[in-house]
């Protein structure tokens, strides 16, 4: 089990790496920010500053960049993991784009994005909006309870949900039958049309707590005076939400969306344990394909190409989310 998780993590390493390199200019800025730096001979303090960067750069380089560059290298080969690889250039990438099963996997990842990122965000916003209007007694308790799914290991979550979804003895179908809605009972993870949303709902259950905690925390730092002003201007609850709460939460929304988007796209554990990509290939996702190729079927080059494309997708989406959020804040 350790290995699959590590594979699923690879794209994230890049996601984080992307964030880290965006942060990298910070030391340089600090030197200028000091102002006093200009009084000293120019250049020297800057060079010293680079010394401070060395340990971090070494660690980052060794454990993140080097493997990343190495997998770029590997993705250009057809390699089974032991015998000599064969240079195939960009063929592996072309293969990912042309193979319907692999393309389909990316499509599934985008569907999961709705369940992992969008729906949890909407739930979080709804709760945040309610909290902004009124104080709820014992809210800290509810917050802890609702956040719990985040804390449980995903493997445990997946095993639990497999039992919950069991078509014969699972609580969902039993409840439906007992209240006379047996017609709605389904083979949740075994039905070709329902399996992907069913896996997605597990993701919603896991992620909405995170979105809610981030957003309600954000609401609490909005000055009351803004709400008072809105009310004086005659805003109702809906208007108040869109005029005050939503704009003020821009930063938190960006964080929640970034985290949940990454979780959605690198999703491996849930699929591996609940459906193994089935029935047929209806829940196959890129991270699962990466694991399968690298460790089961000896297609290391193809797995690298797929992993890198997934990483690139994650990088682009997080960049877009942050760009949009920043632009809003500058306004």
């Amino acid at each position: 089990m350790a290995r699959p998780v590590a594979t699923a993590d690879t794209p994230v390493a890049l996601g984080r790496g992307g964030g880290a390199s965006a942060d990298a200019p910070e030391p340089a800025r600090r030197v200028r920010f000091g102002g006093r730096a200009r009084d000293r001979p120019p250049g020297e303090p800057r060079r010293v500053a680079y010394l401070y960067l060395i340990p971090a750069a070494l660690i980052f380089g060794t454990f993140t960049l080097a493997p990343l560059v190495h997998s770029v290298w590997l993705s250009l080969f057809q390699w089974d993991g032991i015998t000599a690889g064969k240079w195939v250039g960009l063929h592996n990438y072309a293969d990912v784009l042309s193979d319907p099963v692999q393309r389909e996997a990316f499509g599934h990842a985008l569907v999961l994005l709705i369940f992992y990122a969008v729906i949890p965000l909407l739930i979080g916003l709804l709760i945040a909006g309610l909290v902004a209007r009124s104080h709820i007694r014992g809210f800290a308790f509810f917050r802890v309870v609702l956040f719990l799914p985040q804390v449980i290991a995903l493997v445990v979550v997946a095993v639990m949900w497999r039992m919950i979804y069991d078509p014969n003895d699972g609580p969902i179908n039993e409840t439906l039958r007992s209240i006379g809605l047996g017609g709605l009972a389904k083979s949740w993870l075994g039905d070709f049309d329902v399996a992907l949303p069913a896996v997605g709902l597990i993701g919603t259950w896991v992620m909405y707590g995170l979105a809610m905690v981030l957003l309600t925390a954000g609401v609490q730092k909005i000055p009351r005076s803004l709400y008072d002003a809105a009310r004086v201007d005659g805003a109702g609850p809906v208007r108040e939400f869109f005029a005050v709460t939503l704009p003020a939460l821009r930063g938190e929304i960006a964080v929640a969306l970034t985290l949940s988007t990454i979780a959605a796209l690198r999703n491996f554990d849930l699929v591996y344990i609940t459906t193994k990509g089935g029935p047929g290939t209806s829940t196959s996702v890129p991270a699962y394909q990466v694991y399968e190729r690298a460790f089961l079927t000896g297609k290391v080059g193809s797995a690298s190409a797929m992993g890198l494309m997934l990483a690139a997708l994650i990088f682009v989406l997080s960049a877009i989310i942050n760009r949009v959020a920043e632009r809003g804040q500058a306004r």
Binding site: M1, R3, S21, A24, P25, A28, A57, F60, G61, L65, A66, P67, V69, H70, W73, L74, F77, W79, D80, G81, I82, T83, A84, G85, W87, R162, M163, Y165, D166, P167, N168, D169, K186, S187, W188, L189, G190, D191, F192, A195, T274, T275, K276, G277, G278, P279, G280, T281, E292, F295, L296, T297, G298, K299, V300, G301
Partner: protein, 449 residues
């Protein structure tokens, strides 16, 4: 400016990394492949081999498996005090994912259990990391020790892409059969023919019980149901030829379609658990163990658990064929083979060890520790009803040479491909002809890439 510097350092670090990892992955084929040393001519005297430490990687970590290997290791070291066995025990998954690196590394173990098929053994053979042991097989007479299919499963052509023939690379200890478990309280007279079996399924359905407990959420169980039926519908040679990818063999034949049609028909008639595609493998057999359902088509790996929960109320048999009393055919195979690595400095000792793990004495030890020995030797008869059924079935299958191999050996991706295709076919999304055609297309695609 800032950005370019950051970029510069990234490029610098990247270039270093590239330089470090440069060269073709896997290195030069000819230099890293050790040549097979010498061919053994006569039975070596291990007692005179000097002090030898034999490193062994195995996955015999559960229950009776662990008990037998510990006992046999102890006995081997008692017989040859000059040999020390350094055992590295790993789980099946752990072994499969780490073995390639270990065997290709500088401190390769001497004896390893390498999983059959193209995924592990084929790649090790292709990289010349395993030593062919035909010379030892001749000296020790291993060919007489096993039914021929079981030896074939451990054979590979030197190219590493064709198996089932070629050089012998290892020996397995235990047998495995996929057959029919039945609840003796409900099935009073076990069916003698496939037609009788189907009549009993219909009767079970009518009585309101689940005829066959079946959970196919994990994708692979469907392969066992399909192949079990296939063994009764298609000639066993055509199944073997397909799995071993003999020229001209195909999945897209009328017999393979017939088997698909039969099992799809069973699904339509409700002979399987409702919503089987959404039901897990474990919940399904556990329900059977609790007394729900007449039959369960599964492998002998469930014997210990079923016997514990059902006692004498459970029986086992190969799926009956078209005619009563015919030669039995069942899906089955053997445990992972013990193989000798090319880098081993003590191939003679390694071969003697493998011989020791599979001889008459080992057969007795295996039987005493509740395992099913794969060898043709007579073993002490088990006392419990279920293990007795299994041993009888194994003997009959061995005498009739009636085992057909797992289809997922066919190509590295075949387990997933076929499992998914069977889910589709059983859900009624594909006709039996679409199914066999689609599966054959996947095999062709896998071979061409």
């Amino acid at each position: 400016m800032k950005a370019s510097r950051v970029l510069g350092s990234v490029v610098a670090i990247g270039a270093t990394a590239l330089a470090a990892g440069c060269g073709t992955p896997g290195g030069d084929d000819s230099s890293n492949a050790p040549k097979t040393t010498t061919a053994a001519q006569a039975k070596p005297d291990i007692a005179k081999a000097g002090n030898v430490t034999l490193t062994v990687w195995d996955q015999e970590v559960r229950g009776g498996q662990a008990a037998q290997i510990k006992e046999l290791n102890k006995q081997f070291q008692a017989k040859y005090p000059n040999v020390k066995i350094k055992r590295v025990a790993k789980s099946f998954d752990d072994l499969n994912t780490t073995l390639k690196l270990a065997v290709s590394g500088p401190k390769a173990p001497d004896v390893v259990e390498a999983n059959q098929g193209l995924g592990v053994m084929g790649q090790l053979v292709k990289a010349k990391l395993l030593r062919p042991i035909d010379d030892y097989a001749k000296i020790y007479g291993w060919a007489d020790r096993y039914p021929s299919l079981l030896l074939d499963l451990n054979k590979f052509e030197a190219n590493g892409t064709t198996f089932g023939s070629g050089d012998l690379y290892g020996l397995s200890q235990m047998g495995e059969i996929v057959g029919v478990f039945y609840n003796k309280k409900k099935v009073t007279t076990p069916p003698k023919t496939l037609a009788e079996f189907e009549q009993q399924l219909a009767a079970a359905k009518q009585s309101g019980d689940v005829p066959i407990q079946f959970g196919n959420l994990d994708k692979w169980p469907g392969i066992h149901e399909y192949e079990t039926v296939l063994g009764q519908v298609a000639p066993k040679q055509s199944v073997r030829d397909f799995v071993f990818q003999k020229s001209g063999a195909s999945f897209d034949t009328p017999e393979f379609q017939d088997a698909a049609a039969k099992i799809q028909d069973w699904a339509k008639k409700g002979y399987f658990t409702d919503d089987f595609n959404g039901t897990g493998y474990d919940p399904a057999w556990q329900r059977f163990a609790k007394g729900r359902g007449h039959f369960l088509i599964a492998g002998t790996w469930l014997v210990a658990d079923l016997a514990k929960q059902m006692g004498d109320n459970v029986g086992f048999m190969p799926l009956p064929g078209q005619q009563a009393g015919g030669d039995p055919v069942a899906l089955g195979g053997e445990s992972l083979p013990f193989t000798v690595t090319s880098k081993s400095k003590h191939p003679d000792v390694a071969a003697a060890y493998i011989d020791f793990l599979t001889d008459q004495n080992a057969t007795n030890v295996l039987a005493q520790t509740d395992n099913l020995p794969a060898m043709k030797y007579d073993a002490p008869a088990p006392s419990a009803a279920l293990t007795k059924d299994v041993a009888t079935a194994w003997k009959a299958l061995g005498d009739a040479d009636g085992l057909i191999p797992y289809a997922d050996y066919t190509t590295p991706t075949f387990g997933d491909d076929l499992g998914g295709a069977i889910q589709q076919m059983l859900a009624g999304k594909d006709s039996p002809t679409d199914f066999t055609k689609g599966v054959q297309e996947k095999v062709d695609a896998s071979k061409s890439s």
